[in-house]
Amino acid sequence: MRDRAATRALVLGLLALPFGVLAPFAIWSGIHSLRRIRASDGELRGTSSAGAGLIAGLVGLSAFLIGTSYWLLAS
């Protein structure tokens, strides 16, 4: 069975790339889903989606932080 949080993490992660404010939600969903999948002893699937969502969230957050930091430092 597929973990619904994995799909949510992927969607939020993809959206976090253009909309950085969604990144924390993608990261939280990705971590939460990976934990559930790991704890399910193979009953739940979706590791790829959850992992991708987590990574996309981290990239989105990094871009958001780097952009904001640049603005604060360079201005």
């Binding site: 790339l17 253009p18 989606s49 991708a52 780097i66 952009g67 603005w71 201005s75």
Partner: protein, 565 residues
């Protein structure tokens, strides 16, 4: 396994075309060496460029490295606003001739009340110079430049060139402004739509996809057809953005060797359409600016990409062969910044091309939140930082983008001049920023925004000069100074002026312009040798040559000799 690869690929592609990719390309422009401007012909006026001090905001400078203040107005006579008595006929040709021969020898077509604006003629340029203006922001319309796809109007380009020749005679710079308001008049008529407020794209580049043309809340941009047409432009639907870039390149090619042209304003008051800030600015607008810069200057900041349909943020543009690296490029902020008076995006670097100018439109209390909720300027509760707010943030935006700063539009209803215009001009002096005043002349009633009263009877192009505006706009100011950190202030109530600067012996002179309206005695002090020249129109120019250390130039208060009504 395939699913894993597809998901990875999806994340990578979305990352590359959105903020992570845009950020990488933007930051890379800061690491890319600026191109060396090729030596070109000397011009009728000194070539302008943007100087980049290590410890301050970039500024517009002349060939001696002096900070240059551009003061000017915006004539609307070359804009393709709809005119006429019947809005069900939206495709009417321009009311005033675009053939320059109709304006030769001081001729001026008769003004018409069917147009919101009078024609722009040679006498107007001379009148601008009399007010002490040293620049014109000249709005032009894409719809007249490229009326049919791929077919450019040489007549219209000749008309632009004619105005530039007039400006050359008056020793004034011209900023060529690719103007638009509400995307295009070809979005069509509809409920509460006033086509005479719309201009910009030609009919063939106005793709509304059947969305109705209908204005909401009395704001011309709040129109579904305008939303859709603007969005289609940003998404390069049917390659219309490519056509626009080609149109800008054509203008740049035509005036490549003309120093009277200070530069190009790429897109006036960009409206996001269906897109939201900050993504609109960071992922669509400023990447579009980068592509135009790539195309006309030959710098290669964006990544190689396709063209002809949607180009994501990292995409650059091919060199269109113009290689114009001597003109300023003015970048308007997104239109919503006029509502917020603070930045609506991250302010990332745009290009390695050094001559960039962030172009601000300052309409505090006219388009800001307070006005939208019905407050009057004298009782407004926003902006919380007052008139200062927009400028303080703009200073930071410009530094982050490594661009100079210029107020490309400022204006107000005449009855609020004592508050709005006066405060805006004071802020600009404080921040050492030049301005272009909207608008030069306007028909209509007493509330029209022109510097002159509307004409008493057609076909006059205007009534008399508004004395309140003459008082504010014909001001003492440093046209150029060797000290970029100079301080100056002008009191339009008394005509008093004070400037404090510093300069080493042999440093370039500070040139202070004093309009004929200001009659006070000039004095200089400190490390400076001052001389005063009086022009035939009664204006004076103080040349302050530093002899070492701090110096000052002042004009004593004395009642103004206003000529207006």
């Amino acid at each position: 396994m395939i699913g894993r690869v597809l998901i990875t690929l999806l994340v990578v592609v979305v990352a590359l075309i959105s903020y992570p990719g845009a950020l990488l390309v933007s930051l890379a422009t800061r690491l890319t060496p600026a191109p060396n401007a090729p030596a070109g012909r000397e011009g009728a006026l000194p070539w302008l460029h943007v100087a980049h001090p290590a410890d301050g905001r970039p500024y517009i400078a002349d060939d001696q490295g002096r900070i240059v203040m551009l003061h000017g107005a915006i004539p609307a006579g070359l804009i393709d606003f709809w005119t006429g008595p019947d809005q069900s006929q939206p495709n009417v040709p321009p009311l005033y001739p675009i053939d320059p021969t109709e304006y030769d020898g001081g001729q001026c077509p008769a003004n018409s009340s069917l147009s919101r604006y009078p024609p722009f003629c040679r006498a107007d340029v001379e009148a601008m110079a009399t007010l002490g203006f040293n620049s014109i922001r000249l709005p032009i319309s894409w719809s007249l430049l490229e009326p049919a796809r791929g077919h450019f109007s040489q007549t219209y380009i000749a008309r632009v060139a004619q105005v530039i020749e007039w400006a050359k005679s008056a020793q004034m710079y011209v900023i060529i402004d690719m103007h638009q308001n509400g995307y295009s008049r070809y979005v069509g008529p509809g409920d509460d739509v006033n086509l005479s407020y719309l201009s910009g794209a030609p009919r063939w580049a106005t793709i509304t996809d059947g969305f109705p043309s209908r204005v909401f809340l009395g704001q011309r941009e709040l129109n579904p057809a305008v939303f859709e047409a603007a969005s289609n432009f940003w998404y390069d639907r049917a390659g219309i953005q490519d056509e626009y870039i080609a149109a800008v390149a054509l203008i740049a090619q035509r005036f490549k060797d003309e120093s009277v042209v200070a530069g190009y304003s790429i897109f006036n008051e960009p409206w996001p359409g269906w897109n939201l800030p900050p993504g609109f600015e960071d992922l669509l607008l400023f990447p579009f600016y980068r592509r135009v810069i790539d195309a006309i200057t030959g710098v290669r900041d964006g990544t190689p990409c396709w063209s002809g349909f949607f180009m994501p943020a990292p995409c650059g543009y091919r060199d269109l062969g113009v290689r114009d690296q001597r003109h300023l490029i003015f970048l308007d902020t997104g239109l919503l910044r006029e509502v917020t008076d603070f930045p609506t995006h991250l302010g990332l670097p745009v290009s390695s091309y050094p001559n960039l100018v962030l172009a601000l439109h300052t309409y505090t209390h006219e388009y800001t939140f307070d006005k939208l909720v019905g407050q009057t300027p004298d009782q407004a509760t926003y902006p919380w930082g007052g008139y200062d707010q927009s400028y303080v943030f703009a200073d930071r935006e410009a530094r982050a983008m490594d661009a100079a700063l210029f107020v490309a539009e400022v204006g107000a209803p005449p009855q609020w001049d004592y508050l709005m215009t006066a405060n805006q001009l004071t802020e600009q002096d404080r921040q050492r920023i030049g301005f272009a005043f909207w608008t030069w002349k306007e028909n209509g009633g007493k509330d029209s925004w022109g510097i002159f009263n509307p004409p008493g009877s057609p076909p006059e192009s205007s009534g008399c000069l508004r004395a309140a505006r003459e008082r504010l706009l014909a001001r003492v100011f440093p046209k150029a100074s060797g000290d970029r950190n100079l301080r100056y202030s002008y009191d339009p109530g008394t005509g008093g002026f004070a400037l404090a600067a510093t300069g080493q012996t042999g440093a370039p002179a500070t040139m202070v312009y004093i309009p004929p309206e200001v009659r006070g005695e000039v004095s200089t002090g400190g490390g400076v040798h001052g001389s005063i020249a009086t022009n035939t129109d009664g204006s004076r120019v103080v040349t302050a040559l530093p002899t070492g250390g701090p110096f000052r130039v002042s004009v004593a208060p004395q009642s103004l000799a206003l000529t207006g009504c």
